[in-house]
Amino acid sequence: MLTNLLAWIDERFPLTKVWNEHLAEYYTPKNFNFWYFFGSLAMLVLVIQILSGLFLAMHYKPDTGLAFASVEYIMRDVEWGWLIRYMHSTGSSAFFIVVYLHMFRGLLYGSYRGPRELIWLIGMVIFVALMATAFLGYLLPWGNMSYWGAQVIISLFDAIPFVGPSLAEWLRGDFVVSDATLNRFFALHFFIPVIILPALVFVHIVALHKVGSSNPDGIEIKKKKGPDGKPLDGIPFHPYFTVKDIAGVAVFLMFFSAVLFFAPELGGWFLEPDNFVPANILQTPTEIVPLWYFTPFYSILRAVTTDMMRFGLLPFMAVVGGLAIYSVRDMMMRAVVAGATAAILLGLFMMEAKIWGVIMMGLSIVLFFLLPWLDRSPVKSIRYRGWMYKTALTLFSVSFVILGYLGTKSPEAISLFLMKNVYWVQIFTIVYFAFFLFMPWYTTLDKTKPVPERVTP
């Protein structure tokens, strides 16, 4: 009976084929470790966000006069409203934790390297869409930090020469963040995660399953096949990784629930105290800071002062440009690189710090897209790389964390030791960019170890 039904469907829709290609006969490296849980967890969080968001949208009112109260209405009067709301607020931070770890896995094992460049690029587009979604959603509770955060970030567009001010106005739909802004943010906060994100995730996975998963050894399991034509080091995704991922999901949900039920504000990191004050145009919060997942980039924005450009970025870019000119053999290309370097240096002289802050912040994300081409190492995995990449990745991770931490603090305060936050932020901004911009050289010079033929446990 069931087989008949399946046959009936298979004649009309490739159900069995899809099942086999993507689950039952998708051969996955058997040496996946801890870091390989976060892809499936990211999908789980996406589902949590869409479902909880759907129920929130049934009660939320995108109106400056009603929004704040409607959130409290959900917290108090809606059946299980508090649970749904905390699922969503905890979910947004969980999403970034999971995605940052997923991306870090890419850096550890070179998952972005050929032939997986497209997977990485699509993944980066997902990341940007995720950031947009989080930014849009943060306005919706219409708390004071929602309001001022949006005000500050949108006004960044003002820094863009010529078109900036009208672009900012177009985004807001008004001269300031207002009811029009709240309405369109709500519409977009529904559209991007519900329509765009799932589509991107779909393409991400289709591309992954075309070339096959990488693994902690950074070798291609498809190169060593058994007589049956199946990779020797591969095992079917289903049931092996479905059962493994279910155990991972259980652990993840324990962490998730611990926060959700016992500390949904997480001491102000997941829900800020200032956002329990309704938006107030007359009362600026003492320190306008985005939520933690944006603070590394926010720090980079705030790092760029006139002094930073003169004494930090200018020599730094001169060194990078000089190295690039020296390394390029082709005369035509060399001229192009020299021109670009000159333009950047001139720009650092001529343009304001505010504009460069925005440029550097944008660049700090754009550079991730370029990783597949910046990395020149003959090996992919950190297991077989030399001390240079290991040091660079460590420094980069430290800088990312410190930039994130200091992004929540006042630049003028002293939160670490010795000197004001702004100087630490400037140093680690240089470290951050050095990781990417010097990568072509240190990955070429680095002494690598021989890569094994077959995966190691």
Binding site: A69, M75, R76, A247, P264, P273, F276, F316, I414, M419
Partner: protein, 239 residues
């Protein structure tokens, strides 16, 4: 090498003084216990009697409060319903916003989620730090909220305090110049009840959240054990 030089040049930038303006007043810790129903009931009574005249808690309904604190609808109706007609009403302020604005030149903020915007220790210290100040329009000032527009509404309980400042203008201590109807300990206890209630008011489902959380975590722990055993079983022939 160049990279190092850049780092050094950055590090050598003038390091400004360490004297950070620590104008934050010292806050006294307060014990919050949402399962202490009698404390919450006492706090609710103070809140409804003394705070709702100016402030609203307009995201909260009287009957929800009654239900959570174990006060019957009759008792709510007879004892707590001064500012509303029906037990299902939201807790609105007695004084209309325009009148309050005229009197205090600012509208007293809604207190529904005040305990989430301000820490309990802040609220507890604030309620005990009003002092006489003839220069203030209301005759009252506050060390944790300088130039506050709110008068000391509980001075009959606490009495009149005078603030003593050090030579450099920093706050040193209070001196009770005219005792109120309560001893200092009793007043502190009453304020603890009030803040306890404000924490409840900030998130009425908080206690329920903790209770449900325990069950969810227990379930997940059991679920994990089975999921892990299942995984082990499937993977036993993978080498």
């Amino acid at each position: 090498m160049k990279k190092l030089l850049i780092l050094l040049s950055l590090a050598a930038m003038p390091v400004a003084g360490f004297a950070a303006g620590g104008e934050h007043a010292k806050l006294d810790a307060v014990k919050i216990d949402l399962s202490d129903k009698t404390s919450l009931q006492r706090g609710a009574r103070i809140f409804v009697n003394y705070c709702l005249s100016c402030h609203s808690a307009a995201y909260m309904r009287y009957n929800r409060m009654g239900k959570d604190l174990g006060i019957s609808e009759e008792l709510v109706k007879d004892n707590l319903l001064f500012a509303a007609d029906k037990v299902g009403d939201l807790m609105k302020a007695v004084m209309p916003a325009e009148e309050a604005k005229a009197a205090f030149s600012t509208v007293p903020p809604d207190l529904s989620v005040i305990a989430r915007a301000r820490k309990p220790a802040w609220l507890y210290t604030y309620m005990r730090s009003f002092y006489r100040d003839d220069k203030a329009p209301s005759g009252w000032n506050n060390t944790v909220f300088p130039h506050v527009a709110m008068p000391h509404v509980l001075y009959e309980w606490q009495g009149h305090q005078r603030a003593i400042f050090k030579q450099d203008g920093a706050f040193e201590r209070f001196e009770l110049v005219r005792p109120g109807s309560m001893s200092t300990e009793d007043y502190d206890k009453a304020m603890r009840d009030l803040i306890n209630f404000l924490v409840y008011l900030g998130e009425p489902a908080k206690l329920e959240r903790y209770q449900l959380g325990v069950w969810v975590l227990l379930f997940l722990a059991v679920f994990f054990v089975f999921a892990y055993l299942l995984k082990k079983e499937y993977w036993k022939d993978v080498h």
